[in-house]
């Protein structure tokens, strides 16, 4: 069972939740000023990391609140849960664990020390 700790309701099964994709994507202040490429970048381009990713989740079949989750997409390990509006936490010294201990290089896993744009 994959449990997610809702900031309001506590631990609940994953099927009560909906993933809202990558977190901390800021809507450009003045869209008409952007080129098509920049607008497309904002709308469609997502990191889709194998490893530690910052995501938005919604407790859609519970309290219906949004919150942020730091999740290792390779292992589904949830590293941190924090409220909407908070800036992304720095995750240090937490190399993503690989599902079957495969080496970091060549397995597509990236380090958690990546820098956000």
């Amino acid at each position: 069972m994959f449990l997610i700790n809702c900031p309001y309701c506590g631990e609940r099964d994953q099927i009560e939740f909906t993933c809202g994709g990558e977190a901390h994507i800021i809507r450009p202040k003045n869209p008409p000023d952007l080129s098509d490429d920049q607008w497309a970048d904002y709308l469609f381009m997502r990191k889709n990391i194998k490893g530690v990713q910052f995501e938005r989740w919604n407790h859609s079949n519970g309290c219906r609140r949004w919150f942020n989750v730091v999740r290792n997409t390779a292992t589904d390990e949830i590293i941190k849960i924090y409220n909407m509006g908070e800036s992304s936490p720095t995750i240090k010294g937490n190399e993503p664990k690989t599902p079957s201990g495969e080496p970091k290089i060549g397995s597509g896993n990236i380090s958690t020390t990546f820098e956000k744009k």
């Binding site: 609940r12 099964d13 099927i15 009560e16 309290c63």
Partner: protein
């Protein structure tokens, strides 16, 4: 549109384990969805004056006074249920006026299935992904979850003679589906 008097389901079913489980539909209960910012002192004082019950702020709990309950649905959302239909939602609506708040009468869209008996948790746990012993461990607790694919709200009522009694709040359009599944579920409760 359904009239209030019309029952969504009810044919009498013979439940094999009737001594251990009882399922009934509770009708004619006023249900009001209330939303406002709890940080606003003004809105809080208006609502608490009219309602005269404490508005619960602890997640997944409810407060109760006589025939009324206020159920926590979210940090800024509550469900008021009133079995005597005394609550004046028009007054509440008018008093909140143009403030950032909403009062919606959802009496006709939701109905309540009441399950009681010794085997209540055994029956419900067949269909839920929820730890009932933890989330509904005693009265004044409520929980929102899904029943197979259907969103529901479970409310644990006060115990009488140690018999567990749970109210399930469901959309009317889903109630036949859930009722039939529950009836099926009662057939092999003796494990």
């Amino acid at each position: 549109m359904l009239k209030k008097e019309e029952t969504v389901l009810f044919k009498k079913h013979n439940i094999e384990n009737y001594s251990k489980i009882k399922i009934e539909e509770i009708q004619n209960i006023k249900k009001i969805n209330l939303r406002f910012d709890p940080n606003s002192k003004e809105l809080k004082s208006i609502t608490s004056k009219i309602l005269d019950i404490i508005i619960p702020t602890i997640p997944n709990t409810y407060s109760e006074k006589e025939k009324q309950k206020i159920i926590w649905l979210g940090p800024n959302e509550w469900l008021i249920i009133d079995s005597e239909e005394k609550l004046d939602d028009d007054l509440l609506n008018k008093s909140l006026g143009d403030e950032n708040a909403s009062v919606t009468n959802i009496s006709e869209s939701k109905t309540i299935l009441r399950i009681s008996g010794k085997k209540t948790f055994s029956l419900l746990s067949k269909f839920l992904v929820l730890d009932l012993e933890k989330n509904l461990s005693n009265d004044h607790l409520c929980v929102q979850t899904i029943f197979l694919k259907v969103p529901i709200l479970l409310v644990r009522n006060k115990n009488f003679d140690n018999i567990i009694e749970i109210d399930i709040f469901i959309n009317r359009s889903h109630v036949n589906y859930i009722y039939n599944i529950l009836i099926d579920g009662t057939k092999n409760l003796d494990f």
